[in-house]
């Protein structure tokens, strides 16, 4: 009984991190209909720049966090301006491939700095475990969980109650109609990339607290894509739920199947789930079913 509780709590906590990565992808997809691989690198570079501010320049955590947001925002802006904007009106698949290319390019930049090292943050969150019966939970895990949750609330508020959020929702439904109604679609595109790059960076920092900065950090984007697909590419709430479900599914299958199959199930579980989703419900839990015309 204790193990199942421990496993599900761990799954819940990792799941929130998956949700964050998924959310950054969903944000971009919602407004621009582009599925972005580049967010893996935005995430990794965000985590890296936070490390540079905190560990190398020794700026206090809050200040470095704000600086990281500025860096992430400008990266998102640049990415949109240089690669996505020229492709407006082109096939969406080209944009997907461009973000792939961008992923590779930024990966080079990332490796150039990291060079195979493993970078660890200096401890800036409260250390130690929270005594909760038989469970072992660290304080930093709980804090990242709540930061993630807060972030989702903020995003929901932005989408629901601000003017730019209204513009984003309009753009998500139809670019041309939104433009006719006076929404400045290009501005929305810029804004959404900035926002999602910031979300990706926060996800990156949260990941790096758990598993440090190393060469494979960017590949968490694949988990993010799985989350986005699972929850439905248009749905932020879906991303939240799907991330947590994915985390639970992964830790559960690892916890129960690893002893039987001899390890490594955790890496596989997500992909099996992805195949299952794609075959059974390609538009995800809360996504829109598309109707095709010739």
């Amino acid at each position: 009984m204790d193990t199942i509780l421990q496993i599900s709590v761990n799954g819940l906590l990792t799941g929130m991190l998956y949700s964050l990565v998924g959310a950054s992808i969903v944000l971009v997809y919602k407004a621009t209909r582009v599925v972005s691989m580049a967010h893996g690198q935005l995430l990794a570079l965000g985590a890296l720049s936070f490390w540079v501010f905190v560990a190398v320049m020794e700026i206090p955590p809050l200040g470095s966090f704000l600086l990281t947001m500025v860096v992430a925002g400008s990266m998102g802006f640049l990415v949109e301006r240089v690669t996505i904007r020229p492709l407006i009106g082109q096939p969406l698949f080209t944009a997907f491939l461009v973000t792939f290319a961008l992923f590779i390019f930024l990966d080079g930049a990332f490796q150039l700095y990291v060079r195979g090292r493993t970078l660890t943050y200096p401890p800036f969150l409260p250390e130690g475990a929270i005594p909760l019966g038989p469970l072992a939970i660290t304080k930093s895990q709980v804090i990242s969980f709540f930061i993630g949750f807060l972030l989702f609330l903020i995003l929901a508020v932005i989408f629901k109650y601000t003017k730019i959020g209204l513009g984003m929702r309009a753009t998500a439904q139809d670019h041309r109609l939104a433009q006719n109604a006076g929404v400045r679609v290009r501005k929305i595109f810029s804004f959404i990339w900035i926002l999602s790059a910031m979300v990706a960076s926060i996800a990156g920092i949260a990941w790096a607290i758990v598993m440090d900065i190393h060469y494979g950090l960017a590949s968490t984007v694949i988990k993010g894509l799985i989350v986005a697909l699972f929850g439905g590419l248009e749905s932020l709430g879906g991303a939240l739920l799907a991330g947590i479900l994915l985390g639970l599914f992964e830790t559960m299958s690892a916890g129960y199947l690893d002893p039987v199959l001899g390890g490594g199930v955790k890496d596989m579980a997500a992909y099996v789930l992805l195949l299952f989703i794609l075959l059974v419900r390609p538009y995800g839990l809360f996504g829109m079913r598309r109707i095709e015309r010739i």
Binding site: V35, T83, P86, L87, Q90, L92, F93, T94, F96, L97, V98, F100, A101, L102, F103, I104, F105, L106, D107, G108, A109, Q111, L112, R115, I222, L225, I226, L229, L261, G262, G264, D267, M268, Y271, V272, L274, L275, L278, L279, P282, E292, R293, I294
Partner: protein
């Protein structure tokens, strides 16, 4: 466009790939040069060409399924691995001859590819790309966790041999790889202008319209996956016996992106484009290898071996530029060049 003064007086002539005597001359000189390449070329060049030809085989397969049939596949390295491991297991554990294992590994990869292509019956575009990534990981996981594949350290298949003659050097292996690559190129070139190839193009351009016009989507999509995975399997088998080494490290998702990049740089939907793309990217890599010592001398903070990193950046940048500014690839430039010199005194 036909060259000036060339008329097709018969159906045979209309269908011919090689049309004029100049074509024949160029073709036979190229073939002659290719067949005696190891005699005059350096060891380095021969092993470079071997690498290029094996990559060409994989990318030809990818071109058929993605460039012609429009089904994006990032699973190609996994199917290569299936081919490589099949042929390694057949030659090591069962002691079969390489010449039998080569087509069988293609077939094995093709059959696995049918499973890999099955999701394309239901989903397409980005969703399909994601499902092939998932299939890639599942296959690689299975390969590393099955008992007879040697796990992470892999297997060491013997080099191919006829009687006592063993193809154990790069120069000798060239004579195994080159004919296979040539045959598969000719097959691909003919496939794409056959009934099947036209069905592929119809599916790529508009799958709903194709279905309405009577193209059996399921059948042709699966055929495309089968052929492409067959190519990948053959290439994997050749690679395994050339390196005499197979391990999971040789087949990563990064390779899948690499092959896709070659298709894009060469030009989607063009067989010569495969050659352009592969050679371009390979030469880019060699250039980076050549330049990187200079770079690390000028910028010592980059560390001793920036080649891998610079290679990534160069490849990413080139791919991005091609997608943004030359999305029809090098093959399109080549067509423009041909058209303009055939019209020579007049402007294109």
């Amino acid at each position: 466009m036909r060259p000036c003064g060339v008329y097709d007086r018969s159906y045979r002539k209309d269908m011919a790939i090689v049309r004029t005597w100049q074509h024949w001359a160029i073709l036979s000189v190229t073939l002659a040069l290719l067949s005696c390449l190891p005699i005059f070329a350096s060891h380095y060049l021969v092993s470079f060409v071997n690498g290029v030809l094996i990559t060409v085989i994989v990318v030809l397969g990818l071109q058929i399924v993605s460039g012609y049939c429009g089904q994006l596949s990032f699973g190609q390295p996994a199917f290569m691995a299936v081919g490589a491991y099949t042929s390694a297991v057949l030659t090591i554990h069962l002691d079969w001859s390489f010449w039998l294992a080569l087509p069988l590994s293609g077939l094995a990869a093709g059959i696995v590819g049918l499973v890999g292509g099955a999701p394309s019956l239901r989903i397409k575009g980005f969703y399909l790309a994601m499902s092939t990534i998932a299939i890639f990981y599942v296959i690689m996981w299975l390969i590393t966790h099955l008992g007879f594949t040697g796990g992470a350290s892999g297997l060491s298949p013997p080099p191919p041999s006829i009687g006592d003659f063993s193809f154990d050097s790069d120069e000798r292996m060239y004579y195994v790889i080159m004919p296979v690559a040539l045959a598969l190129t000719i097959f691909a070139r003919n496939l794409v202008r056959s009934r099947v190839g036209r069905a592929f193009v119809a599916i790529r351009d508009n799958d709903l319209a194709a279905e309405v016009m009577g193209v059996d989507l399921y059948y042709y999509k699966l055929i495309a996956f089968f052929i492409s995975c067959f190519y990948a399997g053959v290439a994997g088998s050749l690679l395994a016996h050339w390196y005499t080494q197979v391990n999971p490290e040789q087949y990563t998702l990064f390779h899948a992106i690499w092959y896709m990049g070659m298709v894009i740089i060469g030009g989607m939907g063009s067989i010569p484009g495969v050659y352009f793309g592969v050679i371009f990217v390979r030469i880019l890599d060699e250039l980076v290898l050549f330049v990187s010592p200079l770079v690390s001398e000028t910028f010592p903070w980059m560390g001793m071996a920036p080649a891998a990193v610079l290679g990534l950046m160069a490849f990413g940048l080139v791919l991005m530029l091609f997608l943004l500014y030359e999305s029809r690839g090098l093959a399109h430039r080549w067509e423009i060049f041909k058209a303009s010199y055939r019209l020579y005194p007049f402007r294109h």
